[in-house]
Assembly symmetry: D2
Homo-oligomer: 388 residues x 4
Amino acid sequence: MSAQRIRLGMVGGGEGAFIGAVHRIAARLDDHYELVAGALSATADKALRSGRALGLAPERVYVDFAAMAKAEAARADGIEVVAIVTPNDQHAPVAEAFLKAGIHVICDKPVTTTSRDAKRLAALARKHGRIFAVTYNYSGYPMVRHARQMVQEGRLGDIRVVQVEYAQDWLTEPLEATGQKQAGWRTDPARSGAGGCIGDIGTHAYQLAGHVTGLVVDELCAELSTFVAGRRLDDNAQVMLRFQGGARGALWASQVAPGNENNLRLRVYGSKGGLEWKQEHPNQLQWSPFGEPVQTLARGTGAANATAARVTRTPAGHPEGYLEGFATLYSEIAQHIRAARPGGAKADGAAEFPTLDEGLEGVQFIEAVVVSSARGGRWVKVPRVARA
Amino acid sequence: MSAQRIRLGMVGGGEGAFIGAVHRIAARLDDHYELVAGALSATADKALRSGRALGLAPERVYVDFAAMAKAEAARADGIEVVAIVTPNDQHAPVAEAFLKAGIHVICDKPVTTTSRDAKRLAALARKHGRIFAVTYNYSGYPMVRHARQMVQEGRLGDIRVVQVEYAQDWLTEPLEATGQKQAGWRTDPARSGAGGCIGDIGTHAYQLAGHVTGLVVDELCAELSTFVAGRRLDDNAQVMLRFQGGARGALWASQVAPGNENNLRLRVYGSKGGLEWKQEHPNQLQWSPFGEPVQTLARGTGAANATAARVTRTPAGHPEGYLEGFATLYSEIAQHIRAARPGGAKADGAAEFPTLDEGLEGVQFIEAVVVSSARGGRWVKVPRVARA
Amino acid sequence: MSAQRIRLGMVGGGEGAFIGAVHRIAARLDDHYELVAGALSATADKALRSGRALGLAPERVYVDFAAMAKAEAARADGIEVVAIVTPNDQHAPVAEAFLKAGIHVICDKPVTTTSRDAKRLAALARKHGRIFAVTYNYSGYPMVRHARQMVQEGRLGDIRVVQVEYAQDWLTEPLEATGQKQAGWRTDPARSGAGGCIGDIGTHAYQLAGHVTGLVVDELCAELSTFVAGRRLDDNAQVMLRFQGGARGALWASQVAPGNENNLRLRVYGSKGGLEWKQEHPNQLQWSPFGEPVQTLARGTGAANATAARVTRTPAGHPEGYLEGFATLYSEIAQHIRAARPGGAKADGAAEFPTLDEGLEGVQFIEAVVVSSARGGRWVKVPRVARA
Amino acid sequence: MSAQRIRLGMVGGGEGAFIGAVHRIAARLDDHYELVAGALSATADKALRSGRALGLAPERVYVDFAAMAKAEAARADGIEVVAIVTPNDQHAPVAEAFLKAGIHVICDKPVTTTSRDAKRLAALARKHGRIFAVTYNYSGYPMVRHARQMVQEGRLGDIRVVQVEYAQDWLTEPLEATGQKQAGWRTDPARSGAGGCIGDIGTHAYQLAGHVTGLVVDELCAELSTFVAGRRLDDNAQVMLRFQGGARGALWASQVAPGNENNLRLRVYGSKGGLEWKQEHPNQLQWSPFGEPVQTLARGTGAANATAARVTRTPAGHPEGYLEGFATLYSEIAQHIRAARPGGAKADGAAEFPTLDEGLEGVQFIEAVVVSSARGGRWVKVPRVARA
């Protein structure tokens, strides 16, 4: 597929980063992209070393993202899309630079640290006609797609209750005090924004619930806590949710829950049945039609519907994981990037990957939680995003 | 053990009841009780038929509980304790009659429909020097005892987060409209009190959380929902909890969650480790010391501590269940009843079974939830019960 | 139910025993029996102490089982049935004494140490018209009954493969060398018979497979191993099975498999679907209709068939365990004992509990395994028992 | 990494194939390979169409593998290694052609259809100094590596019992009669060799057991069955195993076990502890040190040892799956291919991927099983392979 590979650049993701490597594998897995340029670190040494390790041509290893945007836009073989994998505070300025240079954007979540920034990016993307994808990667799992489709088909009846949680334990102790890079920026309000745990993982849970149920949160009541002494952002969040249309729910996010590695879990209950999905065992979906036995719907089997089958690579029982779900988003984005090429074939169907709409919703969710909690746990309205 | 068996009476629990049969098995399992009298139904026919089926002497089959209290108190071989297994609204009048007759009481939960009633019973029990046990049966499971002991020993460090939930699905549809007896009274405010799902099962979750962690809830914020049209009480409850000392938590109770049979589940996270226990697989307890592998602590193994071992009947891998946990409460109560006999040997240690203190806490919890929800989900204080 | 309780005696089951206490609870749970006599130990002191602890009348506490059989047979209120819970080598002589005294027998497994003994007992039971039940207790679990019924209804199609295993770990080290009573007799050929692990637990696995599938083993090929130095009987057994009609299977039994508490597990695969059941989580049965999602069939739900529902005491999600399954056998036996009383009402349906037929099959299985293994793992025929 | 990517060719894996796509993703995932040539099908049309779809240069799309070997060997930029993903009967002739052309070989399992062929290839590989890797991919999972290391460190003590099984259900019905391509060749002795299920998946189970335990099978006793009418090869296999040194075990492989997707599962029991691993949930390993609680060792956590950590890409709780394990083999092979380049840096440590030694062992295992079964289930010796 080399001839048509999409030329990809990356900002962030140098040595010591976690998510940059994930994005690179995700881009490569289905062979739609070739990484050709990068501003992998704001530290010159590290940027060069990281670029070399990845086999980039030396002239396409940048230290400054603005210079990269300008230079790449000027090349005939310049990048078509940039992946932004920096700490949160850099998402907006980097995205702005590349959008203005006419380059598509794939950005990690939360898309910005303020909703104002997210709205500004949305306007820029519209103005320049560029794709802006946000990597809420968990929506790339086949059985998440399956669940979403079941809800859309009315299999669950009217949705009544949504329980979603995302628990980890890696911040049970003050890891940021040890110099650990990930813990450092993720607990630093200057780099992460106003949300700690709620921004880092709570937004994933929120997006997943919305993605699967199609429901929109109307009001929420939240309490953020910081259990580790000296920590500057929340490490635990309790949120009650009122959805438009009457459904009710709760969201719990925590990074201080020992025994939880990356425990994202969604349960949806309707008048006709219930669903349960766990990220750590993503190939199965529990489906409980009311009054009948619980069924285990498995990826790759005949029980998986077309939306799941479309994003499935291996047969039943040959487990797919985190990287495959992430790669699915990249491959779906690729289709739209190709369609946007001059003379490109139209992409097959609407974008399935999360865009700035969902990115903005995520940021507004964080802001609403922070406000509710600051008011002592009062109910607050969540602004509605008019979907593009 | 027949010579020393405790003479037991029962009010409620006639034909068609569920919990009465459970109490009878629980009483019998360890051979500490003999059922000798009953007012099993307020309907004469049914009372007689039920009494006969249970082999009671005809003169000790009563229709009226007040008459039973008086008659049994007058017999030399009268009952020593009465088990009250009626709908909630009858708990207080029945308990009052037997306490006044000098008879110990074992009462199902919630102990009364108002906290005023619970307080009056407490005063009566004190005045007459009688035992008053409340069958929060889930605290009888060995691995629940184990968990409680671990918390007390400080194994979890400071408790930070408590997630407790109790989900069922049997009221997903309007079962009460079909004449089903259990659904009928449990959704009827005149018989159940102000709480539906929150009273029927939410109190169990609340008691379990308090029993294991030893924490006391200071404030809560709740939302009760009724999803089934025409239902007169809540069938779903979301509650956020603030514990004294700073821990935070959430409680979810639902009877409209398809796929959940009797899914009571507790998770407790502290600065040193986390615990998870599920009622449907009660012989295992997940213990996650921070930074170490998750361990499955199993009933009957060397890993189970003395508080668990004391209430264990079968070896590891020979599962104990619901009835055994219930029986454990009955057997612990028996020890105290025997101790209260003239010349009775002192019971070994303090009462481990739940008493009116926990009963009152449960009722106050229901009341606080109802008030919070009625105010649109405002935080309310939960009164503190001074433990006897 | 006291008036009609069946008068029960027990041989074995004194202090320090495990299975005696299980039998007593099982007898009591559904209130069909009253223990009134016992020869609980062959040691006089212990027999007396144990009898007193159980509240037996002093004159009905025996040291000698033969004396007990004679004395009880002579009493107007003598026992109607004896439970034999001694080490295996005593089963036959005790059973013989009581059968000859006209007393029904409930005997633990394996029913005897030789098939000759089992056949002699069968003849005696027939001659005296007495019930002889063998407590293969795992067949008392509701979902085992459900599975058996599914097979009978042809839901699985033609059975092709049966995988059954029973693994424990308590004999991983030479526990018998420490004086532990259970380990002592169970590894002693003089008291256990020719099979160690294969007799103690392998027979349970064998019986379970036959009970559920209705299939009869035609030939087997076995290898017994003794891994712990100094042990006198096998502690691990591998067996390949050829069933009449063409199905194939394997049985694995081990008492030296660390991490296995009491892991009895059955899998049955047919042309139309597969079943899996695990004793440690007995309330669920996995049912896999070919080409459809795996279903979890749960005890107490609408998915459980009539044979399961009949032996179910608590609602779905209120777990039943080992003692309840054991009690079910006792209650079914009770029905037949009552039917055998002069003027007794006919028992409802054929005996569902295992009788001497299954007892004899179990002993013949042990013998076949021992022979096959002794021949270096050659296939041997398993004699067929003509069912009564 | 593009500059140093290894030039890869592929034989087989055209349209409709399953495993070819897996090999391509596995090669790409860690960015060590570039697919540049292929004889993807023996049908010209299909070969061309498949090559074009993969973006191969037209002149490097071959129909004939022999021509490909010759042409590629002659190019300065010819392939360095060929991946053979044809039906089994083609493995040997293809491998022979490429080895003779001086090209490294990566071959799917079973490596050949006869042990004679495997030995001939071994001699050729030695003679030409080429790498020959066999993709027993399950040994690439991190927790399999962890398990192997634990055994080597003596954590389990002396290994006593090995239970391994590999069950699927996709051949429960005569799928080969429908024209399904995979079922077609896998049940055809002319293309698969003498083993059906035992060759297709039984060898994986066998290799996994040997890989983890380091034990060598001395003798086996097997029974192959064909349950589906008209099928030409076995679809179920029972094997008892005697290992050198005294350990005992059993292997069960089946493709007619409804409810099993790709259920490869290994249990190893030693004098000090037991391990259990399931391919369908590969990120966890159950470790049961005797007398202590069962521990869940998880990939990516501190509990995973260095051999697991080395082949881990994502943090704990971000599941890796089948493709990642497969890619690990490819990446380890890459290191050795690079080392074999003129002036190549020495590979870090011995080859961890399976080579012809394990490939030959697999074929000899199949042959021994077939012989044992043909003899009615007699014990047969398994030849020993002298490891290179």
